[in-house]
Amino acid sequence: MSVKTWRQALVACYNLLLRLYPPGFRAIFQDEIQSVFLQTISDASRQGVLAVAKVFLRELIDLPAAVFQEHRRERSANNVSQAKIYEEPIPKLTRHEVFLAFAVFLIPTGLVLLNASASPLVTTFVPPTILVLVLAGCVVGLIKRFPRWSLPYYGLVISGFVFLFLFQGEAQRISALLSSKFVMQPHDELGRLLLVAFWDGMVWFTLLALMAFTFMLLSIIPGFRPLIQRLWDDWTRLSYLLYGSSVLALVMIYDAYQYPAVFDLLIITCLAAGAWGYLRSSSPSNRFLALLSGLTVSILMTWAGKWIILMPEAWIRWFQPDSLQASQWFEPQQTLTGLIWMVVVIALPYLLRIIPRPRTPAL
């Protein structure tokens, strides 16, 4: 094989290897690198095959490190530019918007009051107030093209449907089915906890699937495309929407314990503080951190409430007729498994970042 043939083969091979570089790097330097390599090889070929082989070997040795370095740099540059895309100025909220942003956290409190109180005044006024608030939040959100503060309303509506209608009816049937599949010992608290954790996970993933299905349907309607696009652009919006679902979930978790009004108030205050932190943060990581903090502190409060305060007799009878201690162990742990699921669910929208986003002129 002549030196010329060698040279041509090596240049072709090198051109193929250049494809290993990231596209951004190739777009700028590929032609130049090819030209310089060709000149280097041409120079070396005057000194024989050995010199050509030496040049090519040097390239082969240096190439992996250079390719790795460029991919790493391109990736970090993309992360920085993506972070800049997601970075948003903190919106200025009007007084009404601030009220509506926090009203969503008052709705579950109303439900607790309704449940606890036998007063005709409460039973008369609380349900229509809740309905009006939910409708107002959803309608104003729709008119204003789904600003951040309105998202928990939609989460609340979907979770209300899932928790109160879809799973309430099915709960007994599925519980019976699970109990028949997994035969447990009378004091197998761990087994029961795993079963409850599985059940919790099923509820949350049903909610998530229902949301995904709803958004798929909404994406067909042109009026809802801004919402879909915004959710796609900033994954924390979806997390915030799901945060709205956790409001109802938490109040339901702390239902029928001692001093529910006090604890519910504390839980909801923590959630509202998380929401405020979310609305006042400009970067996605801070927004997510605010939600995570709100959720964690409120659940830990629920956990402490269950752990410290003795449960009403009715609950003890329902869970473990003969063991107060067992219930005291089981109930707080169940709350913590709930926390794990909630954190997983509000963190899941992060996966949207991995899926390539449709490019829009705005970006």
Binding site: S35, T40, E59
Partner: protein, 145 residues
């Protein structure tokens, strides 16, 4: 062994001191403080900047120049050269321009040249090396005579 070409290049590059004041304003860098953060330079970077000190050059010429100036000790592959050039471009130590005078297959070839910042960093590095050599000579190390 000292390569006389190196000093010739250096002399050419450091004669122009009139732009110094303008640069400081443009780059907004405190010369005594921030430039020191960039040095010492790695050897390939130093030779690339040194190669560009005498004027704009093509990638291939930079490779050859580096090989020559280092007496064959630093031989850049195209991968190493262009990774370094990209980094230097991003740091704005060098700039990339079309070489209108020398088209290749109908396209303008690209040439690289030092920016004011790059030149100042190179000057600082040479000063540092100069000081090291001066100190070593003061202790009667490395004197040829």
């Amino acid at each position: 062994m000292t390569n006389p070409v190196n000093f010739a290049i250096l002399d050419m590059s450091f004669t122009d001191t009139s732009t110094g004041a303008v640069l400081e304003e443009e780059a907004n860098i405190n010369p005594s403080e921030d430039i020191q953060n960039y040095i010492p330079l790695r050897e390939p970077t130093f030779f690339i900047l040194l190669s560009l000190a005498s004027g704009p050059r093509h990638g291939y010429v930079i490779m050859k120049d580096t090989d020559f100036m280092s007496d064959g000790r630093v031989t850049l592959s195209t991968s190493t050269l262009y990774t370094a050039l990209k980094r230097l471009l991003e740091q704005e130590w060098i700039r990339r321009e079309d070489d209108l005078s020398d088209p290749e297959n109908g396209r303008e070839r690209k040439v690289y040249s030092l920016t004011d910042l790059g030149r100042r960093i190179l000057e600082a590095e040479v000063e540092r090396l100069d000081h090291l050599v001066y100190t070593a000579h003061g202790r009667a190390v490395g004197k040829s005579a």
